[in-house]
Symmetry: C2
């Protein structure tokens, strides 16, 4: 991205949904993920000192990093952990640019946080693009991805890299552990509804509980996980053929298999069934949080949203976007 030094730069990066493959990806099965037209915006400007100030209006947290120290402004003791990846993002660009400078970062988001929609990776990615543009440092997509991945590692240990990849490149990607991301270049429109149970769930705990099931009942859970992989690949074929009904059927089957390994929840079932009754092709939980997705004809999107809201969820429409991280202004 060619860039000129400016006073204030805003960049954005898309959120993601996992269409197929959450949980099973941990065991080597393919996942299909896509960028949606809901974005995180990072607005950055240089400071006169060498501090890094980060504020997120959506998370209601803010604070200042100075060397190894952190001073919370809003959000108390939890603020540091939540803002650390953003600090890391800024720091990596400064290091790459070989500059010593202070930066203010303001984050605004179209998507709910901690909902499994990849908002934290989108924060890191948009921050990296904004800061590199601010400093006039050119970064390749690959470099942006690597830095965003590194920022996630600060708090998430060894993430799959799905989230920063989607935020960086946009579009639809196939991912399999230990392999490169494959851009799917699928032209089919993917009109989605994202429903949120507003239930906070720990992805880490869910992953651990799936692992326990697998350890207790390997003869049953292992083949189920393999079927999960077949579903993901079958869905890629159905998407290429523009067969949204088949994609929906496969979403329904995938959802049930996720239930079989213990990854679903009563509230998710309620929203999933409501979406199906509301006329969706299919519906399933997505990611490791409290969200679900439904696929529907465009003319039915509103009806499905309403159906989800009637049973206590929040819902919004989302489409696949091919626009990865970008400078906004």
């Amino acid at each position: 991205m060619p860039s000129l030094s400016k006073d204030v730069v805003t960049a954005s990066a898309p959120a993601k949904v996992i269409l197929f493959g959450e949980h099973f990806v941990v065991y080597g099965e393919p996942a299909v993920v896509l960028a949606i037209d809901k974005r995180v915006f990072a607005t950055v400007q240089l400071r006169k000192d060498d501090r890094i100030y980060v504020s997120s209006s959506d998370m209601r947290i803010s604070g200042t990093f100075r060397g190894g120290k952190f001073q919370a402004e809003k959000g108390g003791s939890e603020a540091r952990l939540k803002l650390e990846p953003t600090r890391s993002a800024v720091q990596q660009v400064l290091t790459k640019a070989q500059k010593k400078a202070g930066v203010n970062v303001k984050i605004k988001s179209d998507v709910p946080v901690s909902a499994g929609l990849g908002s934290s990776a989108a924060v890191a990615t948009s921050t990296i693009v904004a800061v590199s543009n601010l400093l006039g440092t050119e970064l390749s997509r690959e470099q942006i991805f690597q830095m965003a991945y590194e920022s996630e590692r600060v708090v998430h240990g060894t993430p799959s890299g799905i989230d920063p990849a989607v935020s960086t490149y946009g579009g639809m990607l196939e991912f399999q552990k230990g392999k490169d991301f494959i851009p799917l270049n699928i032209e089919t429109e993917v009109p989605l509804i994202i429903g949120n149970t507003k239930l906070q769930r720990s992805t880490g705990e869910l992953v651990a509980s799936v692992r326990r099931m697998k350890e207790h009942y390997p003869a049953i859970i292992d083949p189920l996980i393999q079927i999960g992989g077949k579903i993901a690949l079958g869905a890629v074929g159905a998407l290429r053929n523009n067969n949204l009904q088949a994609v929906g059927d496969l979403m329904n089957i995938n959802h049930a298999i996720l239930g079989a390994v213990g990854a679903s929840h009563e509230s998710l079932e309620r929203l999933v069934y409501a979406a199906r009754k509301g006329g969706a092709f299919g519906a399933k939980l997505t990611g490791g949080g409290g969200c679900m997705i439904a696929l529907a004809e465009k003319r039915k999107l509103k009806r499905v949203c309403t159906a989800i809201e009637r049973v206590g969820g929040t819902a919004f429409e989302a489409r696949k976007t091919d626009e990865g991280a970008r400078v906004e202004s």
Copy 2:
């Protein structure tokens, strides 16, 4: 069963639940079924004419068969179809006994009808035992089973034979298409809660819809059905080891796979999740109707019942019984 000719005889037969294997049994996978301590009672007496009068207080139907003709007393035009298996049961015993006689049959049931709990087979079985005892005709268990199976065929085409087998023999049985029933002789107590959504569902339509899924997505549905078989066999092992927690886990997995092939329903999910939250080891839909079962420690049975009732179901406790069809008086 040795018997003397009497004026009035009451016999009973147990209802059944499918613990594992509904739907998948159609495709050759094993099923585990058991008789529960809820029974259907048939009270019979000889008439002075050659008519067969049948009344079912639970179904609120009654009517008289005379040769090939039927006269409804209660229940209108649908009464004939519902009472025909009972007529067939009586007729078979009369033929076997080489007697020409009229019989009154009064049916009372502990279990809801059309709920997938095998009440119609229990009606036929108890009627056969009662009439044979009334006439002083001895029948072996095998003969009772064959006659009850024949009665079911009158209206159900080619049933699996699971229901009349459980009603006749009692206990827990393993069944696989084309093979003999295997009595499981498991000593483990099986404390169950049966929850009823009160939703009338057509078993035939459900079976057809599972078949459609299998035809559309064989690469995915076929292995899922095979996993269903593994679950049933795994559960037999867990029952032999008195490991009810494992049986419960396997029920949960089995339920999810039934959901994957399209055999579940929103109302069933609500009851199943309520039972699990109420402290059950596990819960799943049972049979092809609107009922679910939960397995729980004895001290938690009431709590699980209440949990199911709170979300709109009816619920009752049931245990495995080894008592098959029997004369009551």
